[in-house]
Amino acid sequence: MTVAVSFSGVTRHFGTVRAVDGVDLDIAEGEFFAMLGPSGSGKTTCLRLIAGFEQPTGGDIRLFGQSVRDVPPYRRAVNTVFQDYALFPHLNVLDNVAYGLMIAGKGKTERYRESEAALDLVALPGYGGRKPSELSGGQRQRVALARALVNKPRVLLLDEPLGALDLKLREQMQEELKSLQRQLCITFVFVTHDQGEALSMADRVAVFNQGRIVQVGSPEDIYYRPEVPFVADFVGSSNILPPILTGLSALAAIRPEALRLTDTGTPATVTAVNFLGAATRVALDANGSRMTALLPKGAVRPTVGASVKVSWDAADLHQMKGGA
């Protein structure tokens, strides 16, 4: 396995702020990798470090084994899809896509042919003559994608690529990005604060918090086996149960859908009931421990204020590292 991107002990300080604080990470070639975290967690700074827009304060970044310490952005084999797309307003779509090839010195015929092909790839054939201002948000996103891909980068960086799109378009683009990545076999690194997006698209996910990576793993690992309470809470709102309820030696995470209301078990009070269509979400308070249960359709729906008993299978509990 070739390592495409490698961080070793990378820090990036802005004044007294430690935006990135000791990150170690290996991203394999051909991987679809997600950097997930709340805003200000350092994920975007990490992406900008790979692109070369930021320089690390400490540590080293390697692209395919080569340190990129003094390599400016324009000499890195990576391309970026910007959050605001950053299309050149004075150029039409075709010239936007052809920009990298023009800078690389390719002839007009050749670069236009390749750019047309890239526009075909992102399902925008025949849009070359338009100005970016005449396109919708989703179309601009595709142009930005084509403009990056036409340069055949070894790593494609995507900064919140779907953030500005509406829900339906976002789901469609998720599918397309995924199949593009499979088709082109390029390493994709994308930054998002949307856990659903990260889990559904990525091969592996790194969860960021306060400038550090708190967990790296497959979407299943992140979702079912959170190692720290932050991941359990941020990724899909797992319940965090104290040792006194579980009998384990540390905090344990459990998915809301693994909780059941039964005749025996831990006593709790119902504090809220929300009907979600396919399921019912019930908020519970078990002697000070708050938890959420997701009851399947057809289950008996409790009323707010009722005293109930909660139970779970010990196999669904996932013991976390460290303390609270």
Partner: protein, 268 residues
Amino acid sequence: MRSEQAPLFLRVAAMGGLLFLHVPLLLIFVYAFTTEDKSFQWPPPGFTLKWFAAAWERPDIWEALSLSLRVATIATLIALVLGTLCAAAVSRSRFFGREVISLLVILPIALPGIITGISLRSAFNLADIPFSFWTIVLGHATFCVVVVYNNAVARFRRTSGSLVEASMDLGANSFQTFRHVILPNIATALLAGGMLAFALSFDEVIVTTFTAGQQATLPIWMLEELVRPRERPVTNVVAMVVVLVTFLPILGAYYLTRGTDTVAGSGK
């Protein structure tokens, strides 16, 4: 927005104001054609084109016109380079004293010209610099930089910073990024700023009187003609030329910057 009829007295007052501003200009134009050359007599006893010929024959006018054009051109070029660089620094990066620099750059246009003139004159004297073509150019550049800076800084602010990063990301070095991305995005602003600077320099009197040696720019020449006139209507002919030379660039600048929302604002 729906426009409604303004009250009568407002319309009369507005009309009166406009007439007060522009009728004197028309008088200058009319007197350029009068047959009477000693005093301003109304109505002019007759009309003639001979003053245009007379102006054409006068070498002192050509000299003054040429000096004014050269000064305005070079002052504008200096302003374009310095104003753009300064605007780029102020809007693209954050550094200690940024606001102060921004204020200091704008100050010359807020200062009375006579202050700028006197201080430049004493500075040139102290430094033992003889008054010449170049001292006039420097004097004019002080306020020309401001208009270029103001135009450029406004455009820079509306140009997304990620465009520069995108260009770098796509393989362009700093020079290529300037050439292919920054320049096309600020070109109309620079043209507009340059035209305004040119017009300002072309009709400048106050700073010029302090920084010029023996040379007379066109406005200075006109001032001298008023004091000791020779063929008075020739001055009016020259005045017409000055109005045209300064008015056309300003009109051009207005049209160039008016439509820029669609040029610069289309990134989003």
